[in-house]
């Protein structure tokens, strides 16, 4: 795999700003600004939509299978015994990775579709099986208080342990690994590529890193050996032991808190709220830098009471310094009947959270909105000015406001 270029070659203003965690649009920028081998182009393109067309064209002509060139994915390359499960009688297993605790019979897979029981041994099918890889600004995760202006070597495998009706990456998150083109990129190679692309971090993102925890752990180790940090973008729907083992290796975490009501979690996410709140508290206790994103979906999770409850919970359980991003919803996947979140709704949510006492409340997916900036909670001056994923000014010095010396929480310099 050959990826030429680095910080200066990534055309950051051209990145899609309406869709912060969607690799589909951003791949175009990454590809257009880089020289890629055909293989790596296909890899990026597979998740990027452009090449999605190339692949689809190939598949269309493959209605007759004799014309098809089966995608070469050597199952054995990507298969490793899972780390979090329990054996049961009759060759069944119970997965202990996420709160769903799937009980899986022989030759069957868990809900996420990327773990398979083979004669009573549970395997992950996605170790080193990378179906999307891009160089992204860290602001795109979004992490606003973590190495601003830096790049993250961002990757995903197929699969997810929930099924959000608004998912923008459902092509990969809701697919089984053999259904999406992927490349074998083992942990050491991940670290090498991150270094080659001048990325101080590896980001596990796009789909749901919980379901590729084993790969994430090994890649994080390889990265740390090479002096590269790791960050994860996750739904936080993970069991405590796995959280400590896997996310314990992370340097920063972004959690998608999808709502502050269990009924929304059940109906729209196919999950539960409480385990995610438990994850946030555990991360706090573990001392991990954590930011929260709340995707505001019109009529479903945008009530004042729900937003107020969320803000109070964050204040009481995590403190007032945790960055909270209210981001704009765009119709997709199974939730196309709702409109884009109106900006005033996002502004109202921000005001409610600030009124509860949270210091760093952002609005996301609205490029150029002043609530993309970081303000000093004491003197209210702009400290980091952002437009989309671009940093226009970064004034924080030694972790403090240059005007009033207030400490600004975060990891501001490498």
């Amino acid at each position: 795999m050959q990826l030429n270029g680095g910080l200066q070659t990534v055309n950051r203003p051209a990145l899609d700003r309406t869709n912060p965690e969607n690799p589909i649009e951003t791949g175009a920028a990454a590809i257009s600004s880089s020289t890629l081998s055909r293989r790596s182009f296909l890899m990026c393109a597979a998740s990027a939509g452009i090449a999605g067309d190339i692949l689809h064209a190939a598949r269309r002509s493959a209605a007759s299978p004799e014309l098809d060139t089966p995608r070469a994915q050597d199952d054995a390359l990507f298969t490793a015994e899972a780390r979090f499960y329990q054996k049961l009688p009759n060759k069944r297993i119970k997965c202990k990775l996420c709160p769903r605790e799937c009980t899986v019979g022989d030759r069957e897979r868990g809900y996420c579709g990327v773990r398979e029981n083979r004669s009573g041994v549970y395997y992950t099918l996605v170790h080193s099986r990378v179906c999307a890889a891009h160089v992204d600004p860290v602001e795109k995760k979004p992490l606003f208080h973590y190495l601003p202006g830096s790049l993250a070597f961002s990757l995903a495998t197929a699969g997810c342990n929930v099924n959000c009706k608004f998912c923008q990456n459902w092509d990969i998150s809701q697919a089984r690994p053999e259904q999406v083109p992927a490349e074998y990129i083992p942990p050491k190679r991940v670290a090498e590529l991150a270094a080659q692309w001048h990325c101080p971090s590896i980001a596990y993102t796009y789909s749901e890193p919980v379901v590729f925890s084993e790969f994430l752990m090994d890649a994080a180790d390889a990265g740390h050996e090479a002096g590269i940090r790791s960050i994860v973008v996750s739904n936080g729907y993970i069991q405590d032991d796995a959280l400590r083992a896997a996310y314990g290796k992370m340097d920063a975490v972004k959690i998608d808190l999808k709502a502050f009501s269990d009924s929304y979690y059940q109906k729209v996410v196919t999950g539960q709220l409480k385990p995610v709140l438990d994850t946030l508290v555990a991360l706090r206790k573990m001392g991990k830098w954590t930011e929260i994103v709340y995707l505001v979906v019109p009529t479903l999770n945008d009530g004042d009471g729900e937003i107020g409850g969320l803000a109070r919970w964050v204040k009481q359980n995590l403190g007032t310094d945790v960055p909270l991003h209210f981001t704009q919803f765009h119709p997709d996947y199974l939730l196309k009947n709702l409109p884009i979140t109106p900006v005033p709704t996002l502004e109202r949510a921000r005001e409610i959270a600030r009124a509860e006492g949270l210091h760093f409340v952002y609005i996301g997916n609205v490029p150029g909105h002043p609530a993309e900036n970081t303000y000093c909670p004491r003197c209210q001056r702009v400290l980091v000015e952002r437009v989309g994923f671009e940093i226009r000014q970064m004034l924080i010095l030694k972790g403090a406001c240059p005007y009033c010396k207030e400490t600004i929480p975060g990891m501001w310099h490498a």
């Binding site: 939509g49 299978p65 579709g113």
Partner: protein, 352 residues
């Protein structure tokens, strides 16, 4: 960006009224004798044919003839006869040519959806599927217009099928060879991509499931076999697969193309399914045939319960895994068939 088609339940109901072969149409097709169709419009028929000699002669007093009785290989002539008997029982007709000609027309593309999760021990029987393909050809279908399929070619091979693509022979391959449609189709709780074999290689679908216990769903027979046609079956196993199995079977393309269900109960599984575990299988040496997958599943479920009782096992309900999706499939929102046994006519025939 994607170009998926999302169909609301209302839209689906509207379109299905116009376009789909619904349950009533299936009922009509099931009745070769139109008079009977008028007499019993709301009843579903399930035909079961048994042949205890399907694997060869039964043991004599000295056990010397038992050589083939436990064999996995079936006697081809007897399989052929068993299929005919089951079909004749369903359609009340001794004219096998006429039966198949009613089901398919020359020029149509026919998919034979098998179930191969259970490997050689517990998959749709290869000889049975060959007999089905032979009947289709007798009805004027070109061999190359028939495709035997499941989700994965390797699983097909493990079950004893030979992958065949191209030429003028019966085709056989998995969805892995051609992939899924890019568009999502939806019904109720389900949003899935469909196998391109179903969408592009089938005008008519013949379902050949296996009679099986299922650790999560309760049973896996005709309705559940359609999970093999979608890209994300793993998402639809919670809550005993209810209402997901019913919703999958409501997907318009499936509902419109499914014509006949021939359940392979030559070897069946009463516990520990859906994978093959020899200690939990038995050999009913039977075929269960119906045009109504709900009725077939209801009857198949009862057969599994009887075997479980015989083995001293609890009922599926007592194990909290009764296949509730069967009832859901019959409800007013789905109307995929009858689960009320008073409205199911079962004809049983013992060939030997």
């Amino acid at each position: 960006m994607r170009n998926e088609r999302t169909t609301s339940r209302r839209e689906f109901l509207t379109t299905s009224l116009v376009g789909a072969v619904g349950f009533n149409a299936v009922q009509n097709l099931s009745s070769l004798e139109s008079a009977r169709s008028i007499e019993q419009p709301a009843k579903s028929r399930v035909s079961i044919a048994y042949d205890s000699l399907l694997r060869g002669p039964l043991p004599d007093a000295h056990g010397t003839a038992a050589i083939r009785h436990d064999s996995k290989t079936l006697d081809s002539d007897r399989v052929s006869n068993l299929l005919d008997q089951a079909m004749q029982g369903l359609f009340d007709s001794a004219d096998r040519g006429r039966i198949w000609e009613k089901l398919v027309r020359p020029g149509q593309l026919i998919g034979v959806k098998v179930n191969t999760l259970g490997g050689r021990g517990l998959s749709s029987n290869v000889q049975l599927v060959e007999e089905i393909c032979a009947r289709l050809q007798e009805a004027g279908i070109r061999p190359q217009d028939i495709v035997i399929w499941d989700r994965d070619s390797t699983e097909l091979e493990r079950a004893g099928f030979r992958i065949r693509t191209g030429g003028s022979q019966v085709q056989c391959f998995g969805t892995d060879r051609v992939g899924f449609e890019a568009d999502l189709v939806t019904f109720g709780s389900v949003g899935s991509q469909l196998s391109r074999i179903l969408t592009q290689r089938c005008d008519v679908l013949i379902n050949v499931p296996v009679l099986k216990d299922h650790d999560g769903a309760g049973v896996s027979i005709a309705l559940k076999n359609m999970y093999g046609a979608i890209h994300n079956p793993n998402k639809y196993h919670p809550n005993g697969c209810d209402p997901y199995v019913a919703d999958v079977n409501m997907l318009q393309e499936l509902r419109a193309k499914l014509r006949l269900h021939i359940c392979d109960a030559t070897t069946a599984c009463f516990d520990g399914g859906p994978a093959f575990k020899p200690e939990f299988t038995w050999r009913p040496n039977a075929l269960i045939v119906s045009e109504d997958p709900v009725a077939l599943d209801q009857i198949g479920w009862q057969m599994i319960e009887r075997k479980r009782a015989e083995q001293g096992l609890k009922t599926l309900a007592a194990e909290d895994r009764a296949p509730r999706y069967i009832e859901t499939a019959a409800d007013a929102e789905h109307r995929l068939g009858n689960n009320d046994q008073r409205r199911i006519v079962v004809s049983e025939k013992h060939v030997a």
